[in-house]
Symmetry: C2
Subunit: 258 residues, 2 copies
């Protein structure tokens, strides 16, 4: 009987990975982490992640869980996993949780950040986690568009055509309505930092939102036109998909008791 | 006649380089940048840097200059250089200066930052530019020691035995007195950010100061003992040399007219 349920908080640099989820013939974070767990516990486990992440996107606080019979104390487990993992994946913490905890089903919200650098030349230390966007943008209309994202909307115009949905339950694949609790734009020097917190996100939704808000910043789309995209439900009317390497899953929130 | 003098501001990730200065059989930033200039201008130039940097250390704003006959406008030159340089070296700006400008002799001050992360597990996005220091440190005594560094002191206790001196003039190799205008410690979450501004620095001086201030933080050296190191002039009494990858040359200052 696998009587222990372990919750992991994981950070990774996604550059070398084809996203979180195991795929045939591809190096993925889930695959690499599962192998490390097998290596340390001697067991093949089912590793459940809080959700998929895009190929090349990063995480500071993805959550995962797995059931095991291994008796190794949780803090020592984190240390042991980090000793066999590549340095671009780190287990920030490991702790035992109740048997019914499920990293995906129980997630209450996810916080994503998208990072843009708008200087003329991208400095090397910002290369791996910033989208270099050289067009002049106007922050006022962008902030207006960002505020419109908050609340419950149909995000079909911002969903990848593939239709893969993050956090979806079998059978509700066609539901493109999501609730966004927070949608903010901050600046830090020449950086633009977009933050989104929501209960769930469609595939490529954050990257498509950012790509479209940048179009608003360039004046190629008015804020009022942006707001109409929710009703239009047409991916071709929204902006380009911003590149994956600017996207970071910052944190996954659960109920207090978790 | 090489009638144009070009000033470059350069940023680089030093991980792949044996420091700034050209060396036989080693990849250096000066060597790589000189080749790029040769590639673009068709001329072999003498590239003068504001000073050497350690193998593996980084820069956000190193300054260099070279004389050329090439007529390419300076902003286009920056773009052309970046098109042939590897992505871990970027020319942030290029502009013509008066013929007598010399990147090393004319430097009034240099600003270095040293970055430490003191959490239990180092997140991947901090890996390349932070020294992971896991001992518990007390910030009060460290700030006290940092304040003592300001002013004019004999830094012989903090100089590499090799005796190579940054910004030194021929013949004054034995002079280990330097003036530090600013020596500060800030925190940002679990990060410690040390800033030093001075007219010149001895070889390994910043890394040795940080290594010793960390010893003060651990309580292995009292602030008063730290202050005595200036008079002792003995490298063996100070702390270890903090690793190069936490060190960043942030900026080089010149007189306004430059």
């Amino acid at each position: 009987v696998r009587n222990r349920n372990i919750k992991l908080i994981v950070a990774f640099d996604g550059a070398a990975y084809r996203g979180w989820q195991v795929q045939p013939d591809a190096r993925t974070v889930q695959g690499t982490l599962s192998e490390a767990i097998e290596n340390i516990t001697g067991e093949t486990v089912i590793l459940t992640g809080s959700g998929r992440t895009d190929s090349g996107a990063h995480a500071r606080g993805l959550v995962a869980n797995f059931h095991t019979t291994a008796g190794i104390p949780a803090p020592r487990l984190a240390k042991a996993l980090n000793s066999v993992l590549p340095r671009d994946i780190r287990v920030l913490s490991a702790r035992p949780v109740t048997a019914d905890f499920h990293a995906r089903h129980d997630a209450r919200s996810k916080i994503y950040r998208y990072q843009v650098y708008r200087g003329i030349v991208l400095p090397p230390h910002l290369l791996s986690e910033h989208y270099h966007y050289r067009y002049r943008v106007d922050l006022g209309p962008m902030r207006e568009a960002m505020r419109m994202i908050e609340g419950e909307h149909d995000f079909a115009s911002f969903a990848a055509k593939s239709g893969r949905l993050d956090g979806m339950v079998q059978g509700e694949a066609r539901n493109t309505v999501r609730r966004i609790f927070r949608s903010e734009l901050r600046t830090s020097g020449l950086r633009l930092l977009f933050t989104f917190e929501g209960s769930g996100f469609l595939h490529h939704m954050v990257r498509n939102l950012v790509g479209t808000v940048l179009e608003v910043g360039r004046g190629r789309l008015k804020p009022v036109e942006f707001s109409e995209l929710f009703d239009r439900r047409d991916r071709t009317l929204a902006g380009a998909t911003a590149p994956a390497h600017g996207l970071i899953l910052m944190r996954v929130r659960y109920d207090r008791k978790r």
